[in-house]
Amino acid sequence: MLVELRVNGELRSADVPPETTLLKMLRESLELTGAKLGCDVGDCGTCTVIIDGISVNSCLMLAARANGSEVTTIEGLASSNALHPLQEKFEEYGALQCGFCGPGMLMSAKSLLDKNSNPTVYEVRDALAGNLCRCTGYTKIIEAVIDVGRNMKAETNA
């Protein structure tokens, strides 16, 4: 079936079998391999994308159901000349080690900051509870997100 999406601002479409997940369509039909296939059952969060403003596990959503939606993937985070503030802070804090959880962590963090620009540690932990990391122990990830929030608040108040 034909599925049409606006991905990172660009209209994209693909003819996929109805049982295709959004993740599979993104990776295999649209060649956007940023979102990763981890557990494939909605536990690990590395497939997280933002669809019509909310974060979802793209491994649990059929592409058919996403038809007509606006999707933001990790590829849509940086612009051609600058990293997103979250990416900069993740780099600065050493918040990624192997990096496999990174695309999902960043999209969950973006989704949080879009709604709540200056979150507390509790709110960050709650927002990232669906993103598993086997390397970092989470501390640096949480610190990086808090720091981005702090800067966003400082900018708003400036």
């Binding site: 049982e19 536990d43 159901r65 989704s111």
Partner: protein
């Protein structure tokens, strides 16, 4: 996943019709957080998914003269941000918050949680203590039943294969009623409940009235602790009374004994959580 067909019908009636025509070969699709995982692991008989997740008749949260209507396809994420739910049914918001993680709460629906009909369904106790009713669409129109009658056995809701859950109603009288939900899992995030519990009550002239206690993951279906409720009815709230009610609640449950937790441990959790939700509900009621 094995090959499947996918249809997103325009109305509840069309969805019911499709499901009745295809029998066991068709399944309704809600948030998919359980179903898609099941389909990846065992295809079963399902060949057609009838996507009801975006049906207008199943969406929305509204306050009417009858009470609060929550569409079956409302997600936990939507409940957590809804001003009416936050103000009038905080126990449902609290239960929603304990389910999965942000991404699953943004997909998973309250109706899906009920229809999946597992003993640990977190929304169930919160809805039960608020005297919820559910509307079910079938071939001959809709029927409405109390939520307690919806759970028959593990994974067996009170639904014909072609029937669909339309919405959940909280009667006017239960809106704003002091209530509370608590869950104990092996982790804070993304964990199934070992035990979950909810309570609701009013205090009038110093006495407890309309007490409700519901518990999940303690029997084949979520249950009301009716004997414990009877013990509280008309009594003056005290620590001792709550202890006694919690003790009675333990005798009303039939928890399992398995690798996640022993029988004894689960009984202790029932005692603790019952005490906790009752104490908190009494505090809220006393503050009014």
């Amino acid at each position: 996943m094995s090959p499947l067909d996918y249809i997103a019908p325009e109305s509840a009636a069309a969805a019911v019709q499709l499901l009745s025509e295809h029998g066991e070969l068709a399944s309704p699709l809600a948030g998919g957080t359980d179903l898609i995982v099941d389909l990846k692991h065992s295809s079963g008989n399902v060949q057609l998914l009838v996507d009801v997740s975006r049906l207008q008749e199943f969406r929305g949260i509204e306050e009417t003269t009858d009470g609060l209507r929550i569409g079956s396809m409302v997600t936990y994420g939507e409940i957590m941000e809804n001003p009416i739910c936050l103000e009038k049914t905080p126990a449902i918001v609290a239960a929603s918050h304990t389910i999965g993680a942000v991404q699953t709460r943004n997909l998973g629906t309250i109706g899906g949680n009920l229809v999946t009909c597992v003993p640990s369904a977190d929304s169930a106790p919160a809805l039960m203590v608020l005297d919820a009713e559910v509307t079910i669409a079938g071939l001959d129109g809709n029927r409405r039943i109390p939520i307690e009658d919806f759970f028959i056995a593990p994974r067996k809701p009170n639904l014909q294969p072609y029937e669909l859950l339309v919405d959940i109603w909280i009667p006017k009288k239960a809106m704003g009623k002091p209530s509370n939900f608590s869950k104990f899992g092996l982790r804070k995030g993304q964990a199934l409940a070992l035990v979950n519990a909810a309570a609701a009550l009013q205090i009038k002239e110093g006495k407890i009235i309309e007490p409700r206690i519901a518990l999940g993951a303690v029997a084949p279906t979520p249950i009301r602790a009716l004997k414990a409720e009877a013990l509280l009815m008309g009594e003056e709230p005290s620590e001792k009374l709550i202890e006694e009610a919690a003790e009675v609640a333990v005798t009303e449950c039939k928890p399992i004994d398995d690798f996640r937790a022993s029988l004894k441990y689960r009984q202790q959790l029932i005692r603790t959580l019952t005490r906790r939700v009752l104490t908190r509900s009494v505090e809220i009621a006393s503050d009014r």
